[in-house]
Each structure stands twice: as structure tokens, then as C-alpha cells.
């Protein structure tokens, strides 16, 4: 499994590029992953999404659906797609350090 050095830590990823252990995550790691997937700067709104996703994952063992994400984090669908262009669910999960989302919605 690939190991990358990000923000001074050795982070293990699975073959699809999702973090193996979400506990290795911190904001600096998130910023470095984001830069690698085409989001050069993470702002407060990005972190609202990321923190909500991490919370949902810790509670349910899976990332939230886009519907739950927009309703409960207070970030509207349009903005979510602007914050994480080209595939918000997967991209946000990647940056949030949680596994690939399993739902279809």
C-alpha cells in the first residue's frame, strides 16, 4: 500500500488513494492532499464540509450522502460543487481522510 510523507507524517493510503486510518488526519495533511487533487487552498467552508464528513464517518462508519451532507452541514449543493469541483463526494472524502463513500446518492 502506498505511503506518502505529508505534513511531516507517513500516511498510508489504499490503492484508490483514500487514507487507511482516518486518525492520522489533521488539517495540515488535508491541505497537502487537497493541493495534490487540484484544490490549492482550503478555506473555512471547505473545513465545514470536511469536519462534517469526518463526524458522519465516526458516527456511522461511512461517509454521508450528498443530500445528508448539504442538509446537515448547511453548505448548499451548488456551493459544494464549487468547493470540490469534479466529484465532490469522492474528493471531499479523500481530503477528509475517510474511505470512499459507499452510497449512490
Amino acid at each position: 500500500m502506498p505511503v506518502l510523507e505529508l505534513a511531516g507524517k507517513n500516511i498510508t493510503f489504499n490503492d484508490e488513494g483514500f487514507m487507511e486510518d482516518h486518525k492520522q488526519w489533521d488539517e495540515a495533511v488535508a491541505r497537502e492532499i487537497a493541493a495534490k487533487v487540484g484544490i490549492p487552498e482550503l478555506n473555512e467552508r471547505h473545513f465545514t464540509v470536511l469536519n462534517y464528513m469526518r463526524k458522519a464517518y465516526e458516527e456511522n462508519g461511512t461517509g454521508p450522502s450528498i443530500r445528508a451532507l448539504t442538509k446537515q452541514s448547511g453548505i448548499p449543493t451548488k456551493e459544494l460543487y464549487e468547493l470540490f469541483p469534479k466529484g465532490p463526494a469522492k474528493k471531499a472524502a479523500r481530503i477528509a481522510g475517510i474511505p470512499k463513500p459507499q452510497g449512490c446518492i
Binding site: G17, I33, V37, I66, A68, T70, Y81, K86, K90
Partner: protein, 179 residues
């Protein structure tokens, strides 16, 4: 080292030169609940993956974007031999029972309840979500003329009425999916 963050990953593809899907044009032609949802789910799923998506609503599929109809779509309980009660693994529902008044409303209620559990929104909310996600929603001109529909009959998310020719023009580079 290969880029582990490469998106979208073409999973399981033996031929690594295969291009990922970039654009889909989905045709929704049926107006029952089970006729409309697959197309909506596929369009929304496409946007979630960063795939460009548009939906062309034609014939009774148009009901999904007509304000007065969109939230009243029903499951077809007649002429649907796959329909079982109380769930997919239950007993087949004979067509003559499906014709009893209220049966379609009941089947619709049951299906909506199950959909809500897995976070599939009602049609109106789903259309709004898909539109906000950047998908384009088009209606078929022949159907609009045939049903004598006016612009005010449509939900505000409907982008444009298209002829079939225009639909093909806008689908350049798309995979066209008929549902």
C-alpha cells in the same frame, strides 16, 4: 510512482488506455415513479463523479419536471410482473389486484418510504439537487406540443425545450442513455 490520486480512476479496467466517461445524456421517457428515478439517480451519480450530465425528458417522462405532477408520480401496479408484496422477495402481485383502486397509491407510499431510508429525495427535491449540481434539464419539443404545455407549467429548473435534433447537437461527445 503512479499518481494514486488520479481521478476518475478507471477501476478494474484491463485496458489502461480506456478513457473514463466524461459526459452523459440521459433520456427519461416514462412517467411512473420507477420509470423516472433510475435516470435521476444516474444523472446525479454522474455529477457526483465529476461527469458532465444532461437529462432529456420526453413523453410521460416530462411529468418529472411539470410542477403539478412531479411530486405525484406513482408506481405502476398494472403491467408490472416484477412487482411483489411486501417487498422484492415477497409474493408476486397479480395484475388484477394491481388494478384495485388505491393499490398504486399504496405501492408508491411503500416505495417512497424505503427510498427515504436510503436518502433518495422526493422527485421535486431531487430535480433541484441535480440542477444545482450542474446538470442541464431539457424537455422534448414534440411532447411539449402534444401535451399543450406552457412555460409556466414547468419547474424553474427546466433549462430549455429542445427538438430532437438540438438534443443530438448538445450531446456531442456524450454517452446517450435511454431509460
Amino acid at each position: 510512482m503512479t499518481d494514486i490520486f488520479a481521478e476518475p480512476n478507471v477501476l478494474g479496467a484491463e485496458d489502461e488506455t480506456l478513457e473514463p466517461v466524461k459526459k452523459v445524456s440521459i433520456v427519461i421517457s416514462r412517467g411512473s415513479l420507477e420509470g423516472v428515478y433510475p435516470g435521476l439517480i444516474m444523472a446525479n451519480g454522474a455529477r457526483m463523479e465529476g461527469i458532465e450530465a444532461s437529462i432529456f425528458f420526453t413523453f410521460f417522462g416530462l411529468h418529472a419536471i411539470v410542477k403539478k405532477k412531479m411530486n405525484k408520480l406513482k408506481v405502476a401496479t398494472v403491467g408490472n410482473p416484477a412487482l411483489c408484496v411486501p417487498d422484492a422477495m415477497g409474493m408476486a402481485l397479480p395484475t388484477f389486484l394491481g388494478a384495485i383502486p388505491g393499490m398504486s397509491a399504496f405501492a408508491t407510499y411503500m416505495m417512497k418510504k424505503e427510498m427515504e431510508k436510503i436518502d433518495i429525495p422526493p422527485v421535486g427535491e431531487f430535480i433541484e439537487m441535480i440542477h444545482d449540481a450542474g446538470a442541464k434539464l431539457y424537455s422534448c419539443k414534440a411532447t411539449v406540443d402534444m401535451f399543450k404545455l406552457k412555460p409556466e407549467d414547468f419547474c424553474p429548473q427546466m433549462d430549455k425545450v429542445l427538438t430532437v435534433g438540438e438534443f443530438y447537437e448538445l450531446s456531442a461527445g456524450s454517452q446517450i442513455i435511454f431509460t
